[in-house]
């Protein structure tokens, strides 16, 4: 990365390892294809087009690239789920509906380095045999959509898109499809329904696994923006060399998006598992605000289970069992899962001791109640119920019994819905109650119980208003 300079105040931290974000905030960088090609842009595509598509998939598998959107599923494996005897068209969709609270990485790729994404997409389409691809971009990125459309037009002009790409006989069109403000469209089958022009109700799985029955019931690969960008770099380095960054089973780099109560929130691309939570918060983000102590961290977007600052996490198996404090947690998929949470989308939300846990949980519950698509019972009814309970907790109009109910509602959603939104909306409540029950209960008032049970009573008149 020698010779690259970054805009003042936006320089990468020394502990970063910039691959996908190499050109973000870079001096002299712009979104034009000439700039991109001036630094070897589209060379990896040219190389990929000389390879067998299966060889590309194998490189991605060798790399061990795990999806950066939230679930962390191995990308190459996902590609191989397309039925081998498939005769239908194959589609690829780039999921640019970045909407998990706490996550803000795709935005910068799209706004500042769109060709990296386009190149990664074209390579991926070639690998999976897709001739039509869409970038599903959230409506709140109108400028991003324009930038991508311009980039696609440029790639067309240079012969990287369209008919007979680079004389290989491979045809591909990519179109930008704008969402309209729905978190559920980040769920891949909800996204597909939305792209089909319907209400984005996630599909039941089985049978509707996208790789077999996706868009228009044809095999469809849905990958996150960051994931698709990595495909380009896997081409460049080869799967094996790429896998040397990061740690085993948690290979490569990923972008951590840090927000909340730190001095320098922002995005940091790190080798997966090579930096700890402590390094992220204290070194990269400059630590907590003056005089503040860490209370909790939500490590992978708002649906990830919260980690309490004073927890001790037991990770590993058998003889390899280790005890970790929150500061020691290496930021990777497996360790965060072992700590009872997840790496999710890479959105790290830091909460210090000035924050009310009830207020934080209520804010999250408001989000999920607003975003529930309403298709299936538990999430439709439960997400709003949870919001209403925490609304009362925050307003001082809840009794301790309400916290029990709140937990019961979350348990009635978790694992029982059509899509992962059920977990996304119930895990915050479950984990906040699990870890901060005392504080939540302390925000309630047992005298309120009578008012709540008998809303006609004198107590009710006094308390409920």
């Amino acid at each position: 990365m020698s010779g690259i300079t970054y805009k003042s105040g936006r320089e990468p931290h020394p502990k970063e390892h910039r691959v996908v974000f190499k050109n973000i905030d870079r001096e002299g960088w712009d979104t034009s294809i000439d700039t991109y090609m001036g630094e070897g842009g589209y060379d990896q595509l040219k190389k990929a087009l000389t390879m067998e598509p299966t060889a590309i998939t194998n490189e991605v598998k060798t790399a061990g690239l795990r999806g950066r959107g939230g679930a962390g599923f191995p990308c190459g494996v996902k590609w191989t789920f397309i039925p081998p005897n498939n005769t239908k068209p194959v589609y690829l969709i780039c999921n640019a509906d970045e909407s998990e609270p706490g996550t803000f990485k795709d935005r910068y790729i799209i706004h500042q380095d769109p060709h990296q994404l386009i190149e990664g997409m074209i390579i991926s389409c070639f690998a999976v045999g897709a001739h039509l691809a869409y970038i599903y971009i959230r409506e709140e990125f109108p400028e991003g959509a324009q930038i991508l459309e311009k980039a696609i037009a440029e790639a067309h002009e240079k012969g990287f898109l369209g008919k007979d790409i680079q004389g290989t006989g491979f045809d591909l069109e990519i179109f930008v499809h704008r969402g309209a403000g729905a978190y559920i469209c980040g769920e891949e089958t909800g996204l597909i329904e939305s792209l089909e022009g319907k209400r984005p109700y996630p599909r039941i799985k089985p049978p509707y696994f996208p790789a077999a029955m996706g868009l228009y019931l044809c095999p469809t690969i849905v990958n996150n923006v960051e994931t698709l960008c990595h495909v380009k770099h896997i081409m460049e380095l080869g799967g094996e060399a790429w896998a040397k960054t990061g740690t085993p089973n948690n290979t490569g780099t990923r972008i951590l998006c840090v927000s909340g109560d730190v001095k320098n929130p922002g995005y940091y691309e790190v080798e997966v598992g090579k930096v700890t939570m402590g390094e992220v918060i204290n070194d990269m983000c400059g630590g907590l605000k003056e005089g503040r102590e860490l209370k909790a961290v939500i490590p992978g977007g708002s649906s990830a289970k919260v980690l309490r600052a004073d927890e001790v996490f037991k990770v590993g198996r058998g003889d390899d069992t280790r005890e970790l404090t929150i500061w020691d947690i290496p930021m990777d998929f497996d360790t965060l899962a072992a700590c009872g949470s997840m790496a999710g989308s890479g959105g790290v939300i830091v909460i210090d001791d000035s924050r009310s846990i009830s207020w934080v949980l209520n804010n999250i519950n408001n989000f999920y109640a607003h975003e529930s698509c309403g298709q299936c019972t538990p999430c439709r009814e439960g997400s709003l119920w949870m919001k209403k309970i925490t609304d009362r907790v925050v307003a001082g109009k809840a009794s301790p019994v309400d916290i029990e109910t709140l937990e019961g509602v979350a348990r009635n959603i978790d694992g029982r819905t059509i899509c992962a939104f059920g977990e996304a909306c119930s895990w915050p409540t479950e984990s906040f109650i699990d870890k901060f029950k005392d504080e939540l209960v302390s925000d309630t008032n047992s005298e309120m119980e009578e008012a709540l049970v008998n809303p006609e009573s004198v107590t009710a008149a006094a308390n409920l208003g």
């Binding site: 039941i204 299936c376 439709r380 709003l384 694992g415 029982r416």
Partner: protein, 570 residues
């Protein structure tokens, strides 16, 4: 694994092993062995969105060995141990797999049901006392079985539109709606009239009819039937009668040749409601609104309730004996060749068999029935608007029923036909007869349920029971023999048409020995070769195929296609 037919799969349900055909949905496998799984959104005739989550069950498969681990050993019957999944699975949309285990009881399954019930009831208005669905509401039913006695819900309920006229026959209460989407799927997939949809989202989602549009298609009331709660109710039935007070009789619709299988709901001799009854060879689960609602005339003021004899310009009431005696006297005085019988293809096979007896006994020269044709609606309504044309052909031996009506009119006009026996047809309104023609007759006897212009001209008017008041059999357009069952008593002194014909035969000196519809059926079955000795009992509630007609029912054909494609269960 033990040897088995390749298309049968071993599945363990609540500890017992069973075999089911490959492709069977879990919910249907459970139902087949009596382990019914509660559900709201699932309907075997519609696509399965899996949205209500009421059918969640505990499910397991043989555990996959980890690398280096030995595969699990089958037991002596060849069954592998089951690794139970920590997460429940929906039984509606998932198909069975070899060696699958399903538990419809136990902590996980019951916990899911309790949970879903509590959530469904959270925003439900709980207005059962004023809800028409009470008594046949699955929400009510399952909350008894799987609900809690006390609600933990302390919030303000979501407010939604109430008492919305979504169409001329249907009202919607959105607060009762549980968003199962059955009605939307029905209008999209079966009725091809997509006017319903969900608007807004999350807990605020509302079932909506597009502003300015109506749910008005002729199958709209089926949405009321499949609505598992009281969200969609029928204007016709609204607030009329509590369902648990009503008597249910399984019978068939007689508005057209399809013969939709129906249930007639009545109380104290009054019909309150008709709903379709599942028959996958006739009407699936559906029926047209026009047929369903065509029953209010049955208890109308216009019903004939006693025999009438013409005296000068008016009729006077008479006893049956008097009326029949008058008729037989007159008929005996006319040569059979000068008598015509116009019977009805709305009559049962048994009635037609008696008509045939009468006609043979009197050596009647002209016999026909009135044809009714309309357009096939492309769904369930057949072109033939008579329910038993095939019975007419078979029993009266008419090749082209209705083709001699004009000849009979001519015969009367020319004085060749002097007497007419008109059974269950209003000749003036429905067969193009004129008063002028009928007035030329020396003697005219007419049976019908209602007072009508034809009756005004008859010498003897006999009150004949309508379809809901009699039992018998009919043969539908596809050649299926089906049973009509008496749902309500006929009013006053009304007799069923077979009794009327029997009395005429007897009074004119014909044979005896017929005491019941089944007596007639047994003779009919012995004498008409196509019946091939079939018994009354064999016909059952769903009928039996009797003759080949080559006629198909369009809606059923489309359903078969969807079943073949695995889109619906059927």
């Amino acid at each position: 694994m033990s040897e088995e037919k390749p298309d049968l799969i071993d599945v363990q349900i609540n500890g017992e092993w069973h075999k089911f055909p490959k492709g069977t949905r879990m919910i249907e496998a459970c139902r087949a062995v009596g382990a019914d799984v509660p559900h709201y959104c699932y309907h075997p005739k519609l696509t399965s969105p899996g949205n209500c989550r009421m059918c969640l069950v505990e499910m397991g498969m043989p555990p996959r060995p980890r690398p280096g681990e030995d595969p699990p050993e089958p037991d002596e019957d060849g069954h592998l141990p089951i690794g139970w999944m920590p997460r429940p699975a929906i039984a509606c949309a998932n198909t069975i797999a070899p060696n699958m285990g399903i538990r419809t009881t136990g902590e996980l399954t019951e916990g899911c049901r309790k949970g879903v019930m509590e959530l469904l009831l959270a925003n439900h208005p709980l207005d059962c006392p004023i809800c028409d669905q009470a008594g046949e509401c699955t929400l009510q039913e399952y909350s008894v079985e799987h609900g809690k006695s006390e609600s933990r819900f302390r919030e303000r309920k979501v407010k939604k539109p109430k008492n919305v006229e979504v169409g001329p026959r249907i009202r919607l209460d959105d607060e009762r709606c549980i968003m199962c989407s059955r009605c939307i799927r029905f209008t999209d997939e079966i009725a091809d009239d997509p006017v319903l949809g969900f608007t807004d989202r999350g807990s605020h989602t509302v079932l909506t009819v597009y502003p300015g549009r109506e749910l008005a298609n002729n199958y709209s009331l089926n949405t009321v039937d499949i609505c598992p709660v009281g969200a969609l109710t029928s204007n016709d039935f609204r607030f009329q009668m509590r369902v648990w007070f009503m008597k249910e009789v399984k019978t068939i619709d007689t508005n057209c040749g399809t013969g939709c299988n129906i249930t007639v709901f009545s109380r104290q001799g009054k019909i309150y409601r008709i709903t379709p009854r599942q028959n996958n060879d006739v009407n699936s689960d559906w029926m047209p609104d026009s047929h369903r609602l065509n029953f209010h005339w049955i208890d109308s003021e216009a019903r004939l309730t006693e025999p009438l004899i013409k005296l000068g310009d008016s009729h006077k009431p008479a006893a049956w004996t008097e009326a029949i005696a008058l008729a037989s006297d007159k008929l005996n005085g006319i040569d059979g060749s000068e008598i015509a019988i116009i019977a009805s293809a709305r009559m049962t096979n048994e009635e037609l068999f008696m008509v045939d007896r009468l006609s043979k006994h009197l050596k009647v020269g002209h016999v026909d029935t009135v044809a009714r044709k309309g357009e096939n609606d492309g769904y369930l309504i057949s072109e033939d608007r008579n329910p038993n044309t095939n019975g007419v052909k078979l029993i009266l031996g008419l090749d082209d029923p209705g083709s001699q009506i004009e000849a009979i009119k001519e015969g009367i006009d020319q004085g060749r036909i002097k007497a007419l026996i008109s059974l269950q047809e209003n000749l003036i309104d429905d067969a193009g007869f004129t008063a002028e023609t009928l007035q030329k007759l020396d003697f005219f006897v007419h049976s019908y349920p209602l007072a009508n212009p034809t009756a005004d001209l008859a010498d003897v008017v006999l009150p004949g029971a309508c379809w809901a008041e009699k039992s018998g059999t009919m043969i539908n357009v596809t050649g299926r023999l089906q049973r009509l069952n008496e749902a309500v008593d006929a009013p006053g002194q009304t007799l069923t048409p077979w009794e009327i014909v029997r009395d005429l035969i007897q009074a004119t000196g014909g044979g005896n020995g017929i005491y019941s519809v089944t007596d007639i059926f047994n003779q009919l079955s012995a004498e008409v070769s196509e019946f091939d000795g079939i018994t009354w009992g064999q016909i059952g509630d769903l009928g039996v195929p009797l003759i080949e007609t080559g006629v198909t029912i369009p809606l059923l054909e489309r359903e078969k296609e969807r079943i073949a494609q695995g889109i619906i269960v059927g």
